[in-house]
């Protein structure tokens, strides 16, 4: 038996023993997602147990080094873990901006002390993070951000405002882009710092979206004191970290869209909703054609994600191509949700009520509209592709 086969066998056995039955059912709502944190709210005991067991094993961040609380797995092993979890329909034990975003940045730019301090807390789900990037005046033009960070000798002092901070009201800590040099060109005066959201002078205010939900906040900083050791990387070199993280975020957002349908074909969902003709085909031919087109693009996109990962493994970095993934993946996800809405017809319009679980689909459909805005708009991605990949001249 090869090492990988042995690993698969052991993984399967471990998951069988340790994944509670309740955690093998599809998530039914956002409350079923586990985010951990100091004030974690668990929907049930099994959710807590599952997070803690996976965290203790480092499998919440399978490919991070063991010394920082990760699983220390190779890419092949991580793939096997993913497959084995999918096979028993195991839920993601921990949703975490710490794992998805801050961690990769710390692994690349953090000091040894920072890695040892923060990363294990992240993998164990003890600290919930939020991301302080956008500001009212700095959206697509993120580098024009104005939140001020002044050197006060023993500490930094942060004053300013962030917006679209995901779950800022629920987060324990923030990783934040701040301006540390107001005279330098805009990209060269930015730093990347970490601080506790309970610090004096931090306040948050949820933003209600068109979906009726409030996953984002406005976040205000009024003379917040931040210890100097909380600077990540070099002072005024934070933009490099921001770019690196945005690349991560883009690949992630592009990857996220499965039409909210847990791997089921949108065509099959439409059949369930609308029925078929005598030949077993969706009766609405125009909708059927649109669904087929979305599936063709969906498969082709999925294969492209796979190819990029394989190429990265073969030593060919993704680089600016993450912009292509972000652009295409998010636009595709919006198309899928339009088709889901069409497939469910009038029923898709229900906003309140049990049948729709209080409008789960229409709210999710509305949520997808932000996919092509957050993490750099589709237009910004197209600009990046034009300049960095195609080498088209600046206007």
């Amino acid at each position: 038996m090869s090492d990988l086969e042995t690993f698969r066998k052991e993984t399967r056995a471990w998951l069988e023993e340790n994944c509670p039955p309740e955690m093998r059912k599809p998530m039914r709502s956002e409350e079923d997602a586990c985010w951990g944190g100091r004030n974690a709210k668990f929907s049930c005991e099994a959710q807590k147990v599952w997070m803690e067991r996976m965290g203790a094993k480092g499998w919440t961040a399978p490919e991070w080094p063991k010394e920082y609380g990760g699983g220390g797995l190779s890419r092949e092993q991580a793939k096997i873990l993913k497959e084995e979890m999918a096979a028993i329909k195991a839920r993601n034990p921990l949703m975490s901006f710490g794992i998805w975003m801050l961690g990769p940045a710390l692994l690349k730019y953090g000091s040894e002390e920072q890695k040892k301090h923060y990363l294990p807390q992240i993998t164990r789900g003890e600290i919930r993070w939020c991301q302080g990037y956008s500001e009212p005046g700095a959206g697509s033009d993120l580098a024009s951000l104005q939140t001020r960070c002044e050197d006060k000798g023993n500490y930094f002092e942060v004053t300013g405002q962030k917006v679209w901070t995901s779950y800022a009201d629920k987060a324990d800590w923030i990783f934040c882009l701040v301006r540390t040099d107001r005279k330098a060109p805009k990209h060269l005066g930015i730093s990347f710092i970490l601080f506790d959201m309970q610090s004096k002078g931090v306040s948050t205010k949820p933003i209600t979206l068109i979906s009726g939900r409030s996953p984002f906040c406005e976040t205000f900083f009024d003379q917040v004191k931040v210890p100097k050791e909380n600077l990540v990387g070099t002072l005024n070199k934070g933009w490099d970290i921001a770019k690196y993280l945005l690349t991560h975020e883009r690949a992630m957002i592009g990857d996220a869209g499965d039409g909210g349908i847990g791997g089921r074909s949108i065509g099959q969902i439409a059949v369930d909703s609308l029925g078929t003709d005598a030949q077993g085909r969706l009766a609405d031919q125009a909708l059927r054609a649109d669904l087929a087109r979305a599936e063709i693009d969906g498969w082709s996109f999925m294969l492209t994600m796979e190819r990029m990962k394989d190429e990265a493994k073969a030593g060919q970095g993704i680089g600016a191509r993450s912009s292509m993934l972000k652009y295409y993946g998010t636009e595709l996800n919006k198309r899928r949700y339009e088709l889901l809405m069409a497939s469910k017809g009038h029923a898709a319009l229900e906003w309140e009520g049990e049948a729709s679980r209080d409008g789960e689909l229409p709210r999710a459909w509305l949520r997808t509209k932000a996919n092509s805005i957050e993490g750099g708009t589709s237009e910004v991605q197209l600009n990046i592709i034009s300049k960095r990949i195609l080498g088209l001249p600046a206007s």
Binding site: T304, L382, N383, L390
Partner: protein, 378 residues
């Protein structure tokens, strides 16, 4: 299997790239067209390709081939697409060979070595109507003496004009529209009652229209099983579909590169037109679409070895996506070139004509999308 090329495949692709861009670039196709070449491709060039093993790329080694498989074949087709190289590669080396590989030892012995040597050309005679639809085969074959008698017509036979033999999809039972009741026969060029003429299409390639009037073939002309040839025919067509998808990928890549070079050079309003966001965003979108095609095509090619039972789905996906994007690439190429893109003197028009034909052949977007939808249960 990882969606990346291995070292050997990269070498094959580079060799094909070097050879074709030197020996068979768009100017070669232009010359064949302008000279009204009766065949539409060069026998001399095909012989050279055969020497490199391309004609026998799917032929087993015992019959003189290199049996390299579809990934390599796709890489060659892609480079042919870049250069718009006219050759019987897809018709003979991919499709006919796939059919004959499932023939009897005698059939293999008779035909495969000649194909691998680049001397024998065999075309698939499938379509009868204006849209590809193999189940609608009407051309009939009825038992006659020790063999069969064929009556009917075939159209748009790829490389069928002056081919040494045709592999004909014929109805031996059932009704037009049934998948059951179709059988494959190999019919030699000089068979009595067979007459073929060349059909000239917009891409200047070789297509035949053939009439069968009481064409008698011996019993050993049957390839595969009587009445049960549809599955084999599908396997043959899938190979052709994947080959065309790879060719269209190459054509898309090349026409896109030509266009990017052009808009970086062309000036209007005192600036390079490539600096305008109106063109940049469309270019970036097209780039993204071509990236998707690359993945779909490579996966389809790999599936012939890796998961043959899924090769039909893979080929349908690749053919659909590659065809859609090739049309977009050609349209954008002409539009971004402006007036010069409309001139015969400029090469872009050749790409537009070829991909229009290639996306129609062996089933267009709607045909493939319909197959995929059925496979996915909707």
């Amino acid at each position: 299997m990882a969606l990346v090329l291995n070292e050997e495949e990269v070498m094959l692709r580079d060799a094909a790239k070097g050879f074709l861009s030197e020996k068979a670039p768009v100017s070669a196709l232009r010359k064949l067209r302008d000279n009204n070449d009766p065949l539409g491709w060069s026998r001399e060039l095909w012989a050279q390709m055969a020497e490199m093993g391309w004609a026998g790329i799917l032929v087993p080694e015992e019959y003189g081939g290199i049996d390299y498989g579809m990934v390599g074949a796709g890489l060659i087709a892609e480079e042919m697409g870049r250069n718009l190289t006219a050759s019987p590669f897809i018709s003979t080396a991919l499709m006919a060979v796939t059919a004959l590989r499932e023939g009897t030892d005698e059939q293999k012995e008779k035909w495969l070595p000649g194909i691998a040597e680049g001397k024998t050309i065999i075309a698939m005679a499938v379509d009868e109507g204006v849209k590809h639809d193999p189940a609608k085969t009407a051309l009939s074959a009825v038992a006659h003496g020790n063999g069969y008698r064929l009556n009917g017509e075939k159209s748009y036979i790829i490389d069928g004009f002056d081919a040494d033999a045709l592999i004909v999809a014929a109805r031996t039972s059932g009704e037009v529209g049934d998948e059951a009741g179709i059988s494959l026969f190999i019919v030699e060029k000089d068979a009595a009652g067979l007459s073929s003429s060349r059909t000239k299409l917009l891409d200047s390639r070789n297509y035949a229209h053939s009439e069968f009037k009481d064409v008698d073939v011996a019993g050993d002309a049957l390839i595969g099983t009587l009445d049960d040839g549809f599955a084999l025919l599908e396997r043959v067509l899938n190979v052709g579909r994947a080959g065309l998808a790879a060719e269209m990928l190459g054509a898309s890549e090349q026409s896109f590169e030509i266009t990017m070079d052009y808009i970086k050079e062309r000036k209007q309003f005192d600036t390079h037109v490539g600096a305008f966001q109106g063109l940049q965003h469309r270019s970036a979108h097209l780039y993204s679409e071509i990236e998707l095609v690359k993945s779909a095509v490579l996966k389809a090619l790999q599936m012939f070895n890796e998961a043959p039972e899924m090769a039909g789905a893979g080929a349908a996906l690749a053919k659909a996506k590659a065809g859609e994007v090739a049309i977009l690439a050609a349209n954008e190429a002409v539009q971004m070139h402006g007036g010069i893109g409309m001139t015969d003197e400029y090469d872009i028009g050749f790409y537009m004509k070829r991909v229009r034909a290639a996306q129609e052949l062996l089933g267009d977007y709607a045909f493939q999308a319909n197959r995929l939808a059925i496979l996915r249960g909707f």
